[in-house]
Symmetry: C2
Subunit: 123 residues, 2 copies
């Protein structure tokens, strides 16, 4: 698959809530995921598909998602971007927040090799 096909497949998985399958099918085994900051004692960098799966599980255990919208994919060469808007409640604190973030994906040899998430600065 080329970058556009991978990008469109990933958007489809996100829209259908089949992200786990998307990670399995579209990511390189040694893919790296980079958050803008460390969350609750975790590293901001997850290395390898297993670590990214674990991050997804942590997210699903700790957050209740009320809504998630996405725009994209936006493409440039072997990179693409998706803009996410998320409305979720932190199950531990009870705090609900809406946030928008930009995700950047880098494709190498037909697989997603790196994803990074960009956030608005804290007020």
């Amino acid at each position: 698959m080329n970058t556009q096909e991978i990008a469109e497949k990933l958007c489809e998985h996100c829209r259908n809530h089949t992200e786990t399958q998307g990670l399995e099918d579209l990511y390189a085994d040694n893919a790296v995921s980079v958050e803008p900051m460390a969350m609750e004692g975790m590293s901001p960098i997850s290395e390898g598909k297993g670590a990214i799966h674990a991050k997804h599980e942590w997210w699903n255990e700790n957050f209740e998602v009320h809504g998630a919208e996405l725009e994209g994919p936006f493409i440039n060469g072997n990179k693409f971007s998706i803009v996410f808007e998320i409305d979720a409640t932190d199950k531990n604190s009870g705090q609900r927040w809406k946030s928008k973030e930009v995700a950047l994906y880098e494709v190498e040899e037909g697989k997603i090799a790196r994803e990074s998430f960009f956030m608005l600065p804290m007020a």
Copy 2:
């Protein structure tokens, strides 16, 4: 300036239509600008501040901008992103279009060293 300060300054210049000053102040002399595709016989890659200025001039000569909105900056480490929504008319063809694009900026040694623009695939 750190990445967040540079990112906020660039957004301010875009909102105030002082992009030329923003390019002068915030970009490295050898900064590179990467479009998702070549426009009208031009290269998709502009190398150096002079070439980026020339691209801005080409844009200003060839397009009438009715509206431009931006969201951001979204930040991750030494990179940041801005989401632009542009409503413009191509003066040559008379065609008016609205488009959204994601811009990615990479900061090195306190200057923007690289910008890339991500577009939705053509329908």
